[in-house]
Amino acid sequence: MAAMEIGAPGSSLHGMTGREPTFAFSTEDAAAASKFDLPVDSEHKAKSIRLFSFANPHMRTFHLSWISFFTCFVSTFAAAPLVPIIRDNLNLTKADIGNAGVASVSGSIFSRLAMGAVCDLLGPRYGCAFLIMLAAPTVFCMSLIDNAAGYIAVRFLIGFSLATFVSCQYWMSTMFNSKIIGTVNGLAAGWGNMGGGATQLIMPLVYDVIRKCGATPFTAWRLAYFVPGSLHILMGVLVLTLGQDLPDGNLRTLQKKGDANKDKFSKVMWYAVTNYRTWIFVLLYGYCMGVELTTDNVIAEYYYDHFDLDLRVAGIIAACFGMANIVARPLGGILSDVGARYWGMRARLWNIWILQTAGGAFCLWLGRASTLPTSITAMVLFSFCVQAACGAIFGVTPFVSRRSLGIISGMTGAGGNFGAGLTQLLFFTSSKYSTGTGLEYMGIMIIACTLPVVLVHFPQWGSMLFPANAGADEERYYSSEWSEEEKSKGLHSASLKFAENSRSERGRRNVIEAAAAATPPNNTPEHV
């Protein structure tokens, strides 16, 4: 809209697109209700989730997204259960194996940062498809390597595909309403992360089948790698043919029609980086997801060495750690959403602190456990708490910013991998500590690095220790990311819509206060 003088007719309608609901309370758009399978809000995001449906666009997106992410986890950690065969084939030393483990999680630090920007600019559908299909050749390369350097390099390259996490979370945020975003993100990410556990069962099974068909061990593991590689190609094609970026269509078609606004990368980056909450969540995520990835890499070996277990039994226990994601991560999201219904954002923040600190305590216990039953109990409790904390953190990140959602998701995800590489390097590479002592120290570091969540404060919702600022509201917070000039052009309309939908983060008490404030006591109703 062209710049208008103040007071000129129509000037008070800056930013309106004519599609806002005209009632004081939101009613469902009748056209939207008939077009979509699930109930939707004003942004056409689904307000509920139906797990066993594949209806377009919301549930189909959900399933495409989490399965793609699951596939990337399977291929990134596919080497772990096969290491006893691979280390003999390639003549690896312990240092080579350790370095490959660090490499496998480090690659995605960069790719997750880039993916955030890609999603903001090109849409999550292309982001996911590009990554998963370009990573397929690297998975096939694994079948062709014959020395340690090649092994480390290829695991590094395959690790790039873990950036599908960002496209997955971003895609969920465009399709599902903020009231259930914690649950949805927790389910999608948790089931994706489960790939790290599933691969410890899948790869040895495929390897055994190929061996039974007559291949030698050194050929069989190479052939087994064709399974994750083919899954990459399959999922890439499905995402491209069946997926769409937004409930109303694909990003490019919408951008052409003028419905979705194209944004400047430098601006998006600036508002992500200058928000202090972004950095706190980057640190926090490093100490729940990072710790989970590190444990995925070392736990089988720990049980094999410390308790003299058979490799297959150690692998099954290792799989249990990763597979707990099927319930643990969604549980973190559910707890976040349930808490928010009563106490708003403050409950979500407390939820994170409690879960992650408990996870650190159980990790400390795991490092100290000397008998097998206590050790396994500690490991299971540790896995539940730490994975639920991951879910809880992504119940909050969609609210940190609307404009820079993609980059913040990317940075938080990258923080996870950075934490993984760092903890693996600090505690599990040097021969100064045993693996058990490393786990103890890791537990202490988790507890210490979770404290900064106390500092996260939203003016309109409060923080762990302080209530909301008087007079602050959601619109002001989300509009503060746009300059006056951009606001006058109406570029912030999507943020305003989001602000309205996010009022649920005030919790139940504040909703009552808001309703009371809307009808001042001295007004007589009109119909009297």
């Binding site: 050749p137 390369c141 062709l144 050194f218 969604p330 559910i334």
Partner: protein, 205 residues
């Protein structure tokens, strides 16, 4: 409702794991210690120190007999012989999964069986072994255990670890794997490019 179901699933999982943990086997009793066994067998292997054998192709001949320093008749108890291929110290370095251990039940250095056959007292036994295709690239020496009637080790002999020969293992890469990997990778990139171009054309129409 969903929360109750989740909670139920969680407690089931924990219970199953605890049950599984309690039913795991107790650690086995200690085995025979190598340091207690007499080195009563004289063992030779045909490869010269540093010679490279190719797995699946080359052969080695191993022989064993009672050591000349032993009194005659010391081998009355020996009923059978097992000959194993053991990793030399250079191949054990930085590889904890190949570590030698005095306790033969925990020893991981001698992983490959060459032969197991009956022991003929007073005679020189020998066996020609084609290096198996799953022997990895490393340095090895040969060790033979003499077993009594119950299968427990009672004596041993070895050619190393001071002198060792090398085995060049197979890579496991066949030409067909290379071709398949190339074809699949090319397909992946081509499919992506195809979709991208088609959608761009549709957008620009």
């Amino acid at each position: 409702m969903a929360m109750a179901r989740q909670g139920g699933a969680v407690s089931m999982l924990v219970l199953l794991l605890l049950l599984g943990a309690c039913s795991l086997p107790a650690p086995a009793a200690a085995g025979v210690l190598l340091s207690t066994l007499p080195k009563a067998l004289a063992v030779t292997a045909s490869p010269k120190p540093g010679q490279v054998l190719h797995s699946g192709v080359d052969k080695l001949t191993v022989t064993w007999s009672l050591n000349a320093t032993e009194p005659a008749g010391a081998d009355a108890a020996y009923k059978s012989v097992t000959v194993k291929l053991c990793y030399a110290p250079v191949s054990q370095k930085d590889r904890g999964w190949r570590k030698s251990n005095d306790d033969l039940k925990k020893d991981k250095a001698c992983q490959f069986m060459v032969t197991e056959q009956a022991y003929a007292a007073g005679a020189r036994g020998s066996f020609e072994y084609t290096v198996a295709r799953d022997i990895p690239t490393a340095s090895y020496y040969v060790r033979a255990y003499a077993l009594d009637a119950s299968g427990t080790q009672v004596a041993y002999g070895q050619t190393g670890p001071a002198t060792a020969f090398d085995v060049a293992g197979i890579t496991g890469i066949h030409a067909s794997i290379k071709v398949a990997a190339g074809v699949f990778s090319a397909f992946s990139v081509a499919a992506l490019a195809f979709f991208f171009v088609i959608e761009n054309r549709k957008k620009n129409k």
